[in-house]
């Protein structure tokens, strides 16, 4: 690990019989710790830097507004994290969120708040379909979900008649935009997703199955891990998260639209990677994505607020996102970087 990265198994620093502490390099755990907190450090540094130009950012209101803004992106990115951990990618999340927003707005009159459940279920179903196509037809997930991106947004256009669908019963979505004890409910919903999925990944075998599939799919399959099912489940969860993100989007615009949230795809993937999850799969986690989503939001919103010209804003965003990734990813565990 600290040595050359080519020596993977045959004779790399094996522990001797009288091994004592073994091959754990002294600096190893400190480095791991550094990698663990690096995304947070980057976030804090960004906030501090930006707040020198706009002091409102670091106030309690400013931070809450940031978190509130980040909520839909965070939910989307968490779903994407699961798929990326499995070694795939889901490019359909933003389009699926848009479709969900349309469905949600259309279903509220008949279902009321329960429409949210239905929409999340539909999102999950759409994700499952993509997962099944990916697993059974063995089509690269990039392509499957790229096709999904076009398909879901096409369906959203058709069923909405290409129009914005207003929510007529605001009461039915109030739960998603009020606040509880001063904290916006969208933030709480996002946190709930983090907690639930985080618990599933950490406490049940699902987490290690996902990581095993991402690290070494073949080895996972040959240990009897239901690889296909794990992948389909990851896509399903990603779809459901996209559905929930669609609901959150509706709750802040009081309407659903076939292009609502469509621009969130690349920021969501960026959030995953900036958080330190390896795009090649296996390494990373949901907690990291939460921080990653906050970093991306700070970059997107913060930069425009400190009064930089649009052109320079974009350049600085590009430079900072590369810089953030350079600081947060764990290179030592990646033999080949693509």
């Amino acid at each position: 690990m600290t040595g050359t990265h080519t020596d993977t198994a045959t004779e790399p620093t094996p522990p001797r019989e009288d091994g004592g502490p073994g091959p754990r390099a002294p600096g190893r755990s400190r480095r791991d710790l550094a990698l663990l907190i690096m995304p947070t450090v980057v976030l804090v540094l960004l906030l501090l830097t930006l707040s020198t130009r706009n002091s409102d950012l670091l106030t309690a209101d400013g931070l809450l507004a940031l978190a509130d803004s980040a909520a839909p992106l965070m939910v989307l990115a968490i779903g994407a994290t699961l798929v990326i951990l499995c070694g795939g990618i889901d490019l359909s999340i933003a389009a699926l969120a848009a479709l969900s927003s349309v469905l949600f707005a259309m279903w509220i009159p008949s279902l009321g708040p329960a429409a949210a459940v239905a929409v999340v279920a539909v999102g999950g179903l759409a994700g499952a379909v993509q997962g099944l196509v990916h697993v059974t037809a063995k089509v690269n997930s990039f392509i499957v979900t790229l096709g999904g991106l076009a398909l879901w947004s096409g369906i959203a256009l058709v069923i909405s008649g290409a129009r914005t669908v207003p929510v007529t019963d605001i009461g039915a979505i109030q739960w998603a935009f009020t606040d509880v004890a001063g904290i916006p409910s969208a933030v709480l919903i996002a946190l709930a997703v983090v907690v639930v999925l985080g618990a599933v990944l950490r406490l049940t075998p699902a987490g290690r199955w996902v990581r095993a599939v991402g690290h070494a799919e073949q080895a996972a399959r040959l240990s009897g891990i239901p690889v296909g099912a794990v992948k389909v489940a990851a896509f399903t969860a990603s779809g459901a998260c996209a559905g929930l993100a669609g609901v959150l989007l509706v709750a802040r615009t009081f309407s659903g639209a076939p292009t609502l949230g469509a621009t969130l795809l690349l920021p969501a993937v960026a959030a995953v990677v900036v958080g330190g999850t390896a795009i090649t799969g296996g390494l990373g986690g949901i907690g990291r994505t939460v921080v990653g989503a906050l970093i991306v939001i700070v970059l997107r919103v913060g930069l425009s607020l400190v009064g930089v010209d649009a052109g320079f804003e974009s350049i600085i965003y590009g430079v900072l996102i590369i810089g953030a990734v350079a600081l947060t990813i764990d290179r030592a565990k990646l033999d080949v970087l693509k």
Binding site: T10, P14, G22, P23, H215, Q218
Partner: protein
């Protein structure tokens, strides 16, 4: 260049003095001294961890020694990398073949030093082919330089690899030193013969360092043998004067061969049929039928392409579209997925340990409980304490040398990794059949012996074992019966009771 090929110890082409390399926690090389003379084959043996790989890496500039020197033809060099090593005439055939699959043979041979094959920045394919052909001719390989590399057989690729290393000759104006790292570890016997013929030819124009776990092969091919232990040379022997048993002693100081296979532990298999296979049909496997009994080790012998690997994988549900009737304890097993096989009580130890056996980025603990994670769960949750206890139990029971259960398994030696893979299946209460695909491949003598002991224990506990071996000797020694396969069909089935093992020659005849 060097006429002096007599016995009067000519000047060495390669001299290693006091080479020392420390990795965190481990002294990999501890003052290593050895030399390689012109036109000789030097054997290098040692257990895993003895320092072979680190030595070879140092010789091609992939590891930087902390102390000591490497001298090539009398001049001390500090090697900066493979390309630099090549420029002074040291080339290596890597254990993991280092050919790029999707380009031509010629490109692979010339990779990185196309020379006249590229002019004005453009590849001249005809010239490339000619230049590569020169190298291929040296070793008498019939492979076309224009063939795509992944269309070749494994043995052919090994030859291309040798040819690639020989291309050094033209570049250095010296006779090269060729390092062969475990070149035979995945070759079948006939391929080994071909390779050896080439090594003997190679000796005419180069010096060879030959590293292998197979002691008999080292004795057969080498002019001199260095025995390494704990990063030092502990003996230099003349192969004419020693046999494999002596080498075993030197290597580990343990008694070997017969006790090596734990022959005494072979017990009679119980009568009931554990697994019954009827007309199993899959790609490479044609209507195979056989039975395994409770507590029996069934060896499967066959050359490459005999269909025995496919058989193993089909039984584990890892091959698409396998047909046939498979009964496990009388109950029908579907061959559609490894998952189904695992739930039915079948385990599989794949031959490609590093890509298929372990998830090297994950911990020992996670790898160990991977297949039967239910055993450490309470409800849907993993019970951390129970898992910890279970892992501790098996780590100590199998003598797995690891700092802790949380250590990344990729940092362990091959033998310890393999033990974790075995433990993965052994923790199950209802393991009924364990399929072992070359379980000792790439392991050192000591680790092999430990694996054999585990197989014996498993069989004694009633588990049926299907064993594919690296060597016929291993298959015979370990099995109660040996199934011989050829061209996808079973050609013979021989009993191999303790103390009355059949003649390998008879089996060889059924194999080819």
């Amino acid at each position: 260049m060097d006429d002096d090929t007599g016995t009067s110890t000519p000047a060495p082409v390669l001299a290693v003095r006091g080479l020392t390399k420390r990795y965190p926690g481990v002294l990999a090389l501890d003052g290593m001294d050895l030399e390689v003379r012109p036109h000789e084959v030097v054997g290098l043996i040692g257990e895993n961890g003895a320092g072979k790989s680190t030595l070879l890496k140092s010789l091609v500039g992939l590891a930087r020694p902390d102390a000591g020197s490497i001298a090539v033809r009398g001049e001390t060099v500090r090697l900066r990398g493979v390309a630099h090593a090549a420029s002074v005439g040291i080339g290596m055939v890597f254990q993991e073949q280092s050919l790029v699959p999707n380009i031509t043979v010629a490109e692979n041979i010339m990779l990185g030093s196309e020379g006249a094959g590229v002019r004005g920045g453009l590849f001249r394919w005809k010239r490339m082919a000619e230049l590569a052909q020169v190298q291929l001719d040296k070793i008498g390989s019939a492979v076309s330089p224009r063939a795509r590399t992944d269309s070749l057989t494994f043995a052919q690729r090994q030859m291309v690899e040798v040819a690639k290393v020989l291309a050094l000759e033209e570049r250095t104006a010296h006779e090269p030193v060729v390092l062969l790292d475990e070149p035979t570890s995945v070759l079948e016997r006939d391929e080994v013969e071909t390779l050896f013929a080439q090594v003997r030819r190679l000796r005419e124009r180069a010096s060879v360092v030959f590293v292998s776990h197979r002691l008999d092969e080292v004795l057969e091919i080498s002019d001199r043998v260095y025995v390494l232990r704990n990063g030092r040379v502990v003996a230099e022997v003349n192969p004419a004067e020693v046999d494999a048993t002596d080498l075993h002693h030197l290597l580990i100081g343990r008694e070997s061969t017969h006790s090596h296979y734990h022959d005494d532990a072979q017990q009679e298999a119980a009568g009931e049929v554990r697994l019954s296979v009827r007309d199993l049909q899959t790609a490479g496997c044609d209507k195979v039928s056989f039975e395994i009994h409770v507590g029996e080790v069934l060896g499967v012998a066959g050359v490459q392409g005999s269909g025995r690997e496919e058989l193993c994988r089909a039984l584990f549900g890892a091959v698409p579209r396998a047909r046939g009737q498979v009964l496990l304890d009388g109950k029908r097993v579907k061959l559609d997925s490894p998952r189904g096989a695992v739930l039915a009580g079948i385990g599989y130890v794949p031959s490609e340990r590093r890509t298929e056996g372990v998830v090297s980025a994950m911990s020992v603990k996670e790898n160990l409980s991977m297949a039967h994670v239910g055993a450490v769960c309470r409800g849907p949750m993993i019970d951390g304490r129970r898992e910890h206890d279970l892992v501790d139990k098996w780590v100590s029971r199998l003598g797995i040398r690891t700092p802790s259960g949380d250590t990344r398994i990729g940092t362990l030696s091959g033998g310890n990794q393999q033990k974790v893979v075995l433990a993965r299946w052994m923790i199950s209460d209802h393991l009924r059949l364990l399929i072992l695909d070359h379980p000792t491949r790439g392991l050192d003598v000591g680790a092999k012996s430990e694996v054999y002991e585990l197989i014996r224990e498993l069989a004694a506990s009633g588990c049926a074992v299907l064993l594919l071996s690296d060597t016929l000797e291993e298959a015979l020694a370990m099995s109660h019966r040996v199934l011989v396969m050829k061209d996808g069909q079973v050609t013979a089935c021989l009993d191999a009771p303790r103390g009355a093992k059949p003649d390998p020659v008879a089996i060889m005849e059924a194999m080819v």
